[in-house]
């Protein structure tokens, strides 16, 4: 079964067409990256997937079909899908572990079932469990933010440029962490929106390239590289550059390779 299926999705904000006839699938245990120029509707696509558009945007008009594990965004099960944002989204008055627990509280699940220490350990923040977000570095905050999504065990994770605000070294460490969590099955299926070709190639099984607005999918690159793609020493696997160049060509030449 597909974790996510989108058929001919068109999104309008008044007279502005943000997305036009977009179709894609994300299978279970697959990471798909969505890459394209600024303003092409990548984030809108993610928000439409979980019903934020049109749920929180009254001017939005949506056509086409979205199914999440066979259900519409409105019918989807609670906690089945989660989202990681560009901003860390941590609540400043809560400690790290209280922030991570937040999703469980909202979903009405047992927040003291022992999952929390495992997640904290997986993201390397055990020693910072009782710290407020302001005491954490940018990378730590983003790791904690990722953990708030992972703790609910979503079957599909939507990631909206989650590491865009981090420095390059921390970003690469985050790629390693995400890949490790994927191999560990803590991240099952994911749709990743990014501006970074390297990030897309490092994490995704397939890279979908989008055109300028109105956003359309103009190409697909299947990444057939072994995992982990960043070695423990922080080096890229052989062939990484060639795949990145293939994606780069799609973006530069508007799908004409």
């Amino acid at each position: 079964m597909n974790a996510l299926g989108i058929q001919d999705l068109t999104v309008r904000f008044g007279n502005l067409i943000a997305l036009s006839q977009v179709s894609l699938t994300v299978q279970e245990h697959e990471i798909v990256a969505l890459i394209g120029p600024s303003g092409c509707g990548k984030s809108t696509l993610l928000r439409a997937t979980v019903g934020i558009v049109p749920g929180m945007v009254p001017t939005a008009h949506l056509e086409g079909g979205i199914d999440l594990f066979g259900k519409s965004p409105i019918e989807r099960h609670n906690g089945e899908v989660d989202m990681v944002f560009q901003e860390s989204c941590l609540l400043p008055w809560r400690t790290t572990q209280a922030n991570i627990r937040l999703g469980l509280e909202i979903l009405g699940r047992n927040a003291n079932n022992g999952t929390l220490p495992t997640i904290l350990e997986a993201i390397g923040l055990t020693d910072f469990a009782n710290c407020k977000p302001r005491a954490l570095s940018g990378g730590m905050r983003q790791r904690a933010s990722l953990a708030t999504s992972l703790v609910t065990h979503p079957k599909l994770l939507l990631m909206d440029e989650p590491f865009a605000n981090l420095d390059s070294l921390t970003r690469e460490q985050m790629w390693q962490l995400v890949e490790h969590l994927h191999l560990d099955d803590k991240i099952q299926a994911a749709l990743l929106v990014t501006h970074s070709i390297e990030e897309a190639v490092a994490l995704a099984d397939r890279v979908l390239v989008m055109s300028e607005r109105p956003g359309q999918i103009i190409g697909e690159v299947v990444v057939r590289l072994p995992r982990p793609r960043i070695t423990p020493e922080g080096l890229l696997v052989e062939g990484f550059g060639a795949v990145a160049n293939q994606v780069r060509r799609f973006i530069r030449h508007g799908g004409e390779v």
């Binding site: 901003e87 509280e105 909202i106 407020k132």
Partner: protein, 247 residues
Amino acid sequence: MKRSQWLVPLVTLTFLLVACEVSLTLARVSTFIFPKPTLIVKALVENWGWIVANLQVTAMEAVVGFALSIVLGITLSTVCLFVPQAENLVVPFAIAIRNVPFVALAPILFMTMGYGPWPKIIIVMIVSFFPIMTNLTAGFASAEVAQKERFFVWRATRWQMFVKLQLPSAIPYFVAGLEIAVSNIIIAAIVGELMGTTKGLGLVIIMAVSQYRFPLLMATVVVTTALSIVTTWLLRQAMRIAFSPWN
């Protein structure tokens, strides 16, 4: 409290009082124009019991009015949050009430409620509810879009969104509103008393002026200032304890 925190203001205050005493004596300024600090202290000591008895009345009016303004401010801003259409009614109404001159309002209050504490309590409430309401309204709207979207993804109920996101986000704004409001409550109670009263620091001021007892007048001013400072300090300490996770 660190020694430097109270020592510097104390030394500065002592220096200013001594300088004031010396300059008023050398310049031979009349007590009717500006009484010397020693005369003010003397008046304060001689009338201490009477001043404290009236201070308790003023403080009670200010605190009750402030408490009611908190209830009113929270109620109105919460109504505006849950019923957005109500904002068009509540905000103009609140601005109108806040801007009615006390001089025009006081006779109505005294005629309907008498010369007891209630007219002053109402005046304190009118003065102080507005910053609480506006700050809280701004605070409710201060949660970041991404945080709201995250709650939407979790399919949080309206109540969960309020209790876990909007209300906690509004706390720093609420505290700021309280601090603005509390700085006016003593003076608002005294202004109310000046328009008609049988008790309170306003009565002390009226009697001191009518009897040309200017050292007593200045002593009352000193007490009023001290009461305002203490009230603000107490509020800050209470907020620091009550909302420690936000510090």
